[in-house]
Amino acid sequence: MDTNAIYVLWLRDIKRFIRAKSRIIGTLMLPLFFLLGLGLGLGSLVKLPGGGNYFDFIVPGIIGMSLLFTSIFTGSAVLWDRQFGFLKEIMVTPNSRASIVVGRIFGGGTTAVMQSILVLIIALVIGFSVHVTIYTALAIVFMALIAATFIGLGLTLGSMINDFQGFQLVTSFFTMPLFFLSNSIFPVTALPSYVQYILYLNPLTYGVDGLRNALLGTGTFSIWVDLLAMIISTLIMTGIAVYAFNRTEVG
């Protein structure tokens, strides 16, 4: 691992994030509408099995969703860099492809977590009540792991696809099922058992469950199961991203 490359790519993402203020506001809009529409609007009609407030239930789900979307989008930065030539500049320096991928994940992960914290603050203002435990701080860790997993996916897709239109098509092909076939907006048990298995294969399910464990003190699985699942998915997706990125040609 070349720590210099990781540091530079991380710093680059932070600088660009801070400078793109309109982008920050833009990415907060979608979660805000979901909080209002689904959380408050639809939530007033929904009764959760086992009780509980639907708005509180859906906040971790919406944080998971915004992480999913921004992370895959962040991964697409490879495409932009290819387009604007900056990818060549990085690729020709004596740094391993793996550290370039890791630097990207760190940079994108940091900005995605910062965004999620903003979403969380908005939710708190609207009326989200955190059940504070010793595990609450783990919420940040779950945010980071969700981000890392899906930035890995975004990077993989960005390395394999060369044009923007194709990329948008393929990402929506991934993001929609990943979002709807997770426990983000309903509990796993709300679905027939054969569909539940699909949800168990989706890393987002464990990520959102981990956030619920950390922020609400309740979840489907133990918080440690969630943590282990997310660490494994992060490692697998990073590995796949490194493999895909290694094969990409700067042509």
């Binding site: 210099n4 530079v8 600088k15 604007f84 030539g85 900056f86 990085i90 320096t93 040609e249 042509g251």
Partner: protein, 331 residues
């Protein structure tokens, strides 16, 4: 020692061979030029030598390391100034340089020193903290050139370094390239389709056409091979035949041709021979109305080898490659 050794390097995109078996050696400290029209395969060759594209076949060593399996060692020893822009426009000029220096593991003190030095060189000191997206085209180009120099590479590749620059900046960059080569003994490999650039800068030039090297030598030797300078004399028809006959006695005249009332002589060192020619004319009482001296240019060499001129054909390289590819597959 040779800084770069290329043996039968090939890069194929499907059926189309962008680089079709090129071989050459570049000595340490040399300025070596790949000269040819757009789409000839120069950039593809450079991409292989800088480890950005794996070769289809053949081999090459850069700074003593195989490009196929010692990529990281190659990368440590080279720098490249790309033909297309490769800056991060959302960062400032200085940040672009700083990030580059960190990627090459240059420690803070040396980094600041080098960044100051190149900013001064490319005259962007007062724009250092401006976002690159607010730079003009020429400023971006200068920043890229400065960036490629930061890590003081052993071998520096310059892919069309002065395209799109105004003549003044171009001259400036040329002089710097020469200075760099002289002071730091940096080996330079540049591609260009500007004849003057190759002629002014390069110790040796390889003409590239359709993925192949058609000629390789020093600019002088290439030009001399064409038969030296041409002295063109306009003479009165009286005594012309006699004049030609007496010229045939001079061994330093390689070739004599006549058309209308002109006599063309192929000689070396045309400037020095003109007085001698005049002396012969005087002796034979032949009146010479007009004398012209044409020194062969690299352009003439290129025409000689390929039967066509290097034109600045416009359009991006990619487009040119595409059209060539199309033409190729249609066959």
């Amino acid at each position: 020692m040779d800084a770069v050794v290329v043996e039968n390097l090939v890069k194929a995109f499907g059926e189309f061979k962008a680089v079709n078996g090129i071989s050459f050696k570049v000595r340490e400290g040399e300025i070596f030029g790949l000269l040819g029209p757009n789409g000839a395969g120069k950039t593809t060759a450079i991409k292989m030598l800088t480890t950005l594209l794996p070769p289809t076949s053949g081999r090459a060593k850069v700074a003593g390391f195989e490009i196929k399996n010692k990529q990281n060692e190659v990368r440590k020893n080279i720098g490249i100034i790309f033909q297309d822009p490769s800056l991060d426009e959302d960062l400032t000029g200085k940040e672009n340089l700083e990030f580059h220096a960190i990627l090459y593991n240059i420690e803070k003190k040396k980094r600041d020193e080098k960044i100051g030095e190149v900013l001064k060189l490319v005259e962007l000191e007062d724009k250092a903290d401006v976002l690159v997206k607010n730079y003009s085209g020429g400023m971006k180009r200068r920043l890229e050139i400065g960036r490629g120099l930061i890590q003081e590479p052993k071998v520096l590749f310059l892919d069309e370094p002065t395209v799109g620059l105004d003549p003044q900046t171009r001259r400036h960059i040329w002089d710097y390239i020469k200075k760099l080569n002289k002071l730091k003994k940096t080996t330079l490999i540049l591609t260009t389709h500007y004849i003057e650039e190759a002629d002014y800068l390069c110790s040796r030039v390889a003409f590239v056409e359709n993925g192949k090297i058609v000629a390789l030598d020093t600019p002088k030797a290439l030009k001399d091979n064409l038969g030296g300078d041409v002295v063109s004399l306009q003479v009165d028809s009286e005594g012309k035949e006699e004049f030609i006959r007496s010229l045939k006695g001079a061994r330093w005249i390689k070739n004599i041709s006549k058309h209308e009332d002109f006599v063309d002589l192929n000689v070396e060192d045309g400037e020095r021979r003109i007085p001698e020619i005049m002396a012969i004319a005087n002796k034979k009482k032949v009146a010479i109305k007009h004398v012209g001296l044409h020194k062969p240019s690299l352009e003439d060499v290129f025409i000689h080898y390929t039967g066509r001129t290097i034109r600045d054909e416009g359009g991006s390289t990619k487009e040119q490659m595409r059209s060539r590819h199309k033409a190729f597959t249609r066959r």
